[in-house]
Amino acid sequence: MHVDEERIQRLLHGELKPADEAEVQAHLADCGECAGRLAAMRRDEERVDSLLHELDRPAPRLDVGAIARRAEARSPRIPRWAAGIVLVLGLAGAAYAFPGSPLPRLVDAVLEWTRGRQDPLSPDTGSHPPPPPSFAGIAVPPGERFRILFQTPNARGDMLVRLTAGTEVEIRAPRGAATFTAGENQLVVDGRGLPTTYEIEIPLAAPRVEIVVGEDRVFLKEGPRVTTALPPGSAAPYRLPIAAPAR
C-alpha cells in the first residue's frame, strides 16, 4: 500500500503529525516508488516557486502608523461635549412632552416675546447663498509613478511643495479655487483662472512623483532625489511659481 498524495504533500511541507510522519518515513525507506514520487514533487515545487518569483515586485515601504491614522480618521467618534448636548436635548424633550409640564407654555411665551422684538425691516437672512468653501483638496495614493498636472492657462499663482511621512499625495487650494480630476497615475488640477497658492504634500516613500505645469515639468521626486525648476541648493518646502509656458 503506497502513501497517498495528500500525505506526501504534507510530509514535504511539514504538515504531518509526528506519529504519521514517522510512519510515512518508515514506508519511504522501503519503497523506492514513493520515495521517487516525493523527490519528483520536491523538484516540481522548487521549479514552480522559482517561476513564480518572476512575478514579484518590491513591496512599498509603509509603516503601521499610517494605517492607524487612516483607520482613526474614518472612525466617526462622537466627542463628549456632543454627547452631553444630545443628553440635555433628550431630557428637555422629555420634560416638554411630559403631561402637565409648564415648559410648553414657557417656550410659547419666549417665542412670542422674541417675535415682538424682531426688527420688521431686517432682511430675510434665509435667502442668502451659502458661503463659498474655504478650500478644495484631494488625497490620492501615488503608486509607483504619479503625475500632478496643472492645466494652463487656468492654473495661476504658485505652489508650496512639502515632503511628508504620509502615504498619499495631498493637494489643497486654500480658496477653493480648483477642481481635480483623478486618472490612472495622474491628477489634473484645473485652477479655474483664480490665482492661489496650492499646498502639495508628497510622501517621502513615493517612488516617483512629478509636477507638470502645462507641458513643463517643474518638480520631480525620484526615490530620495528631488529636482526642481528652482536654483540649485533650494530646500523643502519648495515654492514654485505656476506660469503658463512662454510661446
Binding site: 498524495e5 495528500e6 504533500q9 511541507h13 511539514g14 504538515e15 516557486d49 517561476l51 490612472e184
Partner: protein
C-alpha cells in the same frame, strides 16, 4: 522533513490592540502584498487592497480568531470589488490599457530584454488556472500553512495537500505548453 518557512506566530495576547496590529503588519504586510501582486499582476492594486485590509482590521477594534486568514479573505474581497470597478472603468475609456493593467504591470525595457517572455508565460500560465487553484498555489508559495489556507479559502483542510499538488501540476503543464509553442 520540514522544508518550508512556517507560519508566523500570533502576537502576544497581553499586548495592546494597536501593538498586536503592528506586530501582524510587520509579519504579514510584505507577504500579503507579494501574494496579491502575484495574483493581480498590478502592484498598485495589490498595495491598495492590502493596506485597506489592515485599515479594516484596525477599525475592527479586536483581532479575529484567525487574523492571517481574515486578512487574506478581506484583501481578496477588496481585490474582487476593485478589479471589477477598474475593469469596467478602464474598458470604457481605454480597452487596451485596461487589459494590460489587469494582466500585468508594464515592464521596463531592461526587464523585457532579460525576462519579458518568461514573465509573460508565467503570468499566462497562472491565468489558465481557476481562481481557487491560483489562490492555493500562491498562498502556499508565500508560506501560509494548510490551516490558514483552508480557513481563508473556506475549504476542507484535509484536502489542501492534494489540491495544492493538482494546482502545481496544472500550472507546470500550462507553462510548458506555452513555452513549447514559442
Amino acid at each position: 522533513m520540514q522544508e518550508r518557512r512556517g507560519g508566523t506566530p500570533l502576537p502576544e495576547p497581553n499586548l495592546s490592540f494597536p501593538a498586536r496590529v503592528a506586530a501582524l503588519f510587520e509579519a504579514h504586510f510584505e507577504r500579503l502584498f507579494r501574494y496579491m501582486n502575484r495574483l493581480s499582476g498590478d502592484p498598485d492594486l495589490a498595495s491598495d487592497v492590502v493596506q485597506e485590509a489592515f485599515v479594516k482590521l484596525y477599525q475592527r477594534g479586536s483581532l479575529p480568531d484567525e487574523p492571517e486568514a481574515w486578512l487574506i479573505s478581506v484583501a481578496m474581497n477588496l481585490f474582487r470589488n476593485e478589479r471589477g470597478k477598474r475593469s469596467r472603468r478602464l474598458r470604457l475609456l481605454t480597452p487596451e490599457r485596461g487589459e494590460r493593467t489587469l494582466g500585468d504591470a508594464p515592464a521596463s525595457p531592461e526587464e523585457s530584454a532579460i525576462s519579458g517572455d518568461s514573465r509573460r508565460d508565467v503570468r499566462a500560465a497562472l491565468e489558465r488556472l481557476s481562481e481557487r487553484d491560483q489562490q492555493i498555489l500562491l498562498l502556499h508559495g508565500e508560506g501560509y500553512r494548510y490551516r490558514e489556507i483552508a480557513v481563508a479559502l473556506e475549504m476542507n483542510e484535509a484536502s489542501v495537500g492534494t489540491l495544492l499538488a493538482r494546482a502545481r501540476r496544472a500550472f507546470r503543464d500550462a507553462y510548458e505548453e506555452l513555452t513549447r509553442a514559442r
